[in-house]
């Protein structure tokens, strides 16, 4: 029973990690908490769903959904955030306007989805079974689709890790997020690099959406709770740290899984928020956040 609960926790934790990673990527480079992230992820998932309906092939739809997520992330930055940050440069509105705008964008995306696909629950089918693996007579609640979620998330995290640590692009991304002005003076095209960051975030959200949705249903709001968990995970991890986001996601996923198993479903989210509050009260910069505050 313990192992079952742990496996389920890892599976949902992996998804939270991806969402948290998407949030952290945008936060690090633009200092904006992107509430539209769940909208972008769900729209990418709808695009994947549509492709799977047309092609009857989940494996074709998945990379295209990820690509759509990346393009969507880039467009949100180009058409929306840059314009807004450029216009609201000073005064109290400058800090809050982009965040409020992402909330507006979330509403816009979800309404748009409603207009195109309606609000009914859709099923995004995967060829992988949603039934748990069976060992002898014992069936565990961990299915091939859950295994795929873990593998896909691990692959995304590994790719990001390699890109960030070992490539020129990764160095440029880190430099642009840590100290944009110094990066610029070193010749890095910071706004272009930031845009790539938005694409990465969009892609990570799309992987989360397209991997988890076959285990439940698809609707304009179906990823909202996932986003909230991702947000809590990101804050636990310090909002600034990619490693923190991953660990925050796993801690939360495994924690929720055990609470669900041993205490009950009604308190899981309550516990999530309690964890969030405790972290914010005791260690406001998160477990992996940097000590020094940086220039935005």
């Amino acid at each position: 029973m313990f192992i079952d609960t742990l496996l389920i926790g890892i599976s949902s934790g992996a998804i939270y990690s991806l969402m948290a990673l998407a949030l952290v990527l945008v936060w690090r480079s633009t200092r904006v908490v992107n509430f539209a992230q769940s909208g972008q992820a769900v729209l990418s998932t709808y695009i994947g769903y549509e492709i799977s309906v047309q092609t009857h092939n989940y494996w074709i739809s998945l990379p295209l959904a990820i690509l759509a997520g990346a393009i969507l992330g880039s467009l949100v930055d180009l058409l929306f955030m840059r314009l807004l940050i450029g216009r609201a440069k000073s005064g109290p509105i400058a800090e809050i306007a982009p965040v409020i705008a992402t909330l507006g964008l979330l509403g816009l995306i979800q309404s748009l989805i409603g207009l195109i696909w309606g609000n009914a629950f859709l099923h995004y089918a995967s060829p992988l079974s949603g039934k748990g693996f069976t060992f002898g007579s014992h069936t565990i609640p961990f299915s091939p689709q859950n295994l795929f979620i873990v593998i896909a998330s691990a692959a995304v995290l590994a790719i990001f890790g390699i890109v960030f640590k070992f490539t020129d692009l990764g160095l440029a991304l880190r430099a642009a997020s840590f100290q944009p002005e110094i990066a610029q003076l070193a010749g890095i095209r910071v706004s272009r690099v930031r845009n790539i960051g938005w694409s990465f975030a969009g892609a990570a959200g799309a992987v989360a959406g397209a991997a988890i949705t076959p285990t439940s249903t698809l609707s304009p709001n179906s990823l909202d709770l996932l986003f909230v968990s991702g947000f809590i995970a990101a804050v636990i991890g310090g909002l600034d740290s990619l490693v923190g986001a991953v660990i925050g996601g796993l801690v939360l996923g495994i924690g929720f899984s055990f609470i669900l198993q041993y205490i009950g479903g009604s308190v899981t989210f309550l516990v999530g928020f309690i964890i969030l509050m405790v972290v914010l009260l005791i260690r406001p910069r998160g477990i992996f956040g940097h000590k020094v505050s940086r220039r935005a």
Binding site: L171, A175, F178, E181, I182, A186
Partner: protein, 238 residues
Amino acid sequence: MKSGLKVSDFSVEYGAVRAIHDLSFHIVPGELVAVIGSNGSGKSTLIRALSGLISPKQGSATWNGISILGKKPEDLVRQGIVHVSEGKSVIPELTVSENLALGGLWRRDKLDVSIATQESLAIFPVLASRLNQRSDTLSGGERQMLAIARALISRPQLLLLDEPSLGLAPLIIEQIFVAISHLQNQFGLTVLLVEQNALSALKIADRGLILNLGELVKAGTPAELIADPELRAAYLGF
């Protein structure tokens, strides 16, 4: 056309505050010019405007005959104009070698990037032994060396140095200024050195410009400036 840096009728304003007013000067290629002035004299503003971080209100600035105004800092770097900003101009979260690598990221000629890196490390050997350390573990002087070394990897023609002596001990300042002078002589770099530390800067400069409240007070060779008792008392502080 190698005409160096020409700045004419240059004015910069922050809202209603006039930071630089009608400034004109010319630096010939290979020259090291020190801009001296106290806090608020507009010298950092000048360097920020020349490197594209802020826009001037009016005036012109050209490097070898091509206007440098209205361009982004990253484009000016590609044009050979590199600004080493004041104080903390390295990225503390990155290692020394990563900070160095930043200077060459945009360059296609990776072979020359590695040659330039070796040359920079030869000028600042202390960095060579710290390549894998995070740069926030470096001393202030080492950070300044790292910032200049990174700039060199971009193969600059015009180096804009903003107060490289800020917050450093006299002995370290001496070392850094010797290195700057060496860059001018060895690589033929044109250097605009903004400094509050007038004595150290004038020691290595070919000419000095004294700024006060955004206006040019006097331009001349270090000997001329130092010989003027009024300037010494009012602006040079020695």
